[in-house]
Subunit: 311 residues, 2 copies
């Protein structure tokens, strides 16, 4: 009998889904996070939860063997000095659909002048001028893992060209992608730039003033990866000086974004609230269930994180 | 030698594209519409242009044999008492991409709460609640010709189910569509309803109070067909009473929409300006060029309109 600790503000939803799945030889304990009893935590060898809540409970988890995170991002568990004596798997393969919908929602809003037309409506102004189109445009993806591959397929559906800047260790997706290893050359050739990179040592402030200078003035930048990949002051300056046409940010250096942060009112900047790729229990539970079947058979788990590499 | 009269506010663009195509045995005369010289019009057997401008010049076109319209809609040329002694072909097969981008721009804006998030940003309010998704939703298409087929393919890409309500004479597109012939049953089963029907006797006020009552309260209605298909007062009431979640209209009974029309300020209504499927010269010229090659070979022209049927 294995014991599973669920740590999530939606613990009850996860518990219900997993109980309904009738996983063999599994006892389930569900907590919202702050309320974990140490005498239960120290019996559990498996944890399903958010990195912050798992981190806070690591000292009590004396029998820990496997952590399945609810999120894709796991950087909080990679901090030096934290224990690494367990198998860490993150949530992958479940965000592509949602992220792709988010990215194309904003790309189409941009091309179709959706906000501008709303403004015209408010002014009771009939403006029949032409809008743009995705067809023939080039999208540049920073990161072409499972999320990037999904975005690339949607881009192809809309008749776009896909360029990718990627770490060599990532496998290439099943779509035509022109790969680059020169970031400046890559940036110069795209109409839209989408960052999907996780928070790793390699990606810190990768998007700096030189990248925003290299992008065409008409370019739109979208960040659905991690805030740490962006030099926020450089992006603010690029938007204020009109070096790029706009940006859409779902992630930030500090979240929630502080009330006095200039991004709330930076021109041509749309912000959302780390909502582009929500961790929906029905999706994440499915990742856990498949991995649990592998776990009890002694097979290698899906989506294992390399603590050194950071993803 | 055939003589072609171009009638468009973008006549010069059309003329340049057609001259560059070096069409054999063709003499081209280009006018913006109001300025046509009758002594030139009465030499021309072919006209490429907008229906309104063609209609105004029909009496002068004594040698007319073929009209290629720049638009998909041709209802102005179908008015009783106007001559019908020529072959009428409309623009088809070129609007699917653009219409599909428009429809999915608004569907994604709706699901991803793009306007609501913009409002939160203006209020400096971080709201991390979940947004929706297209996956698993059902889109209902009123009309499944070439534009509908394109929208259906995009819907399939996003993991949606496609239902179609169609005239029996339309060929079915190369996608899975569940066909209905009961409009109320069709309306009850969709999350989004998209009208693509042209203006024909069959489609007058097809979307009336009973249809808006049959739709789920969460439904979004999009009209990219013709305004005449909608009972505008019934739609206004449905939106004011919350019978449907929202509507996006690109076409209206009267265009431009009169300044005092209630639609400018109806709640949950987004209006655009007959811009969803713009007639771009580079696209329309391609339709003409292909048809011209058929014309000089004496072959049947593409996209012939049946004057009786209305499309």
């Amino acid at each position: 009998m294995s014991k599973l600790l669920i740590l999530s503000d939606r613990a009850e939803e996860y518990e219900n889904i997993l109980r309904a799945a009738k996983l063999p030889d599994l006892e389930i304990f569900a907590f919202t996070g702050a309320d974990v009893e140490a005498k239960i935590a120290n019996q559990c060898e498996i944890v399903l939860g958010y990195p912050s809540q798992i981190r806070d409970n690591l000292p009590s988890l004396t029998k820990l063997r496997w952590v399945q995170t609810i999120s894709a991002g796991i950087e909080l568990l990679l901090v030096p000095d934290l224990r690494r004596d367990y198998v860490l798997t993150n949530a992958r393969g479940v965000f592509g659909d949602l992220m792709s919908e988010y990215v194309f929602g904003y790309l189409l809003s941009h091309e179709k002048h959706i906000f501008k037309h709303r403004q015209f409506q408010e002014e009771k102004c009939w403006d029949g001028s032409d809008t743009g189109s995705l067809r023939g445009k080039t999208i540049g993806l920073l990161g072409v893992g499972s999320i990037g591959a999904h975005i690339a397929k949607t881009a192809k559906h809309f008749g776009m060209t896909v360029h990718g800047y990627t770490r060599s260790s990532e496998s290439s997706p099943d779509v035509d992608v022109y790969y680059h290893n020169d970031l400046m050359e890559f940036a110069r050739g795209v109409d839209y730039l989408v960052n999907i990179f996780p928070n790793t040592p390699d990606t810190q402030k990768l998007l700096d003033a030189s990248v925003f200078r290299a992008l065409p003035k008409t370019a739109l930048f979208i960040n659905v990866g991690r805030g740490s990949a962006v030099d926020e002051k450089a992006l603010q300056a690029a938007l204020e000086e009109g070096k790029i046409a706009g940006a859409v940010l779902d992630v930030f250096d500090e979240e929630p974004l502080p009330k006095d942060h200039p991004f709330w009112t930076t021109p041509n900047l749309w912000i959302t609230f780390h909502t582009a790729g929500p961790s929906l229990p029905k999706n994440i539970a499915h990742v856990f269930i498949e991995n649990y079947h592998r776990y009890i058979k002694g097979e290698a788990l899906n989506y294992q994180v390399d603590f050194e590499r950071g993803y």
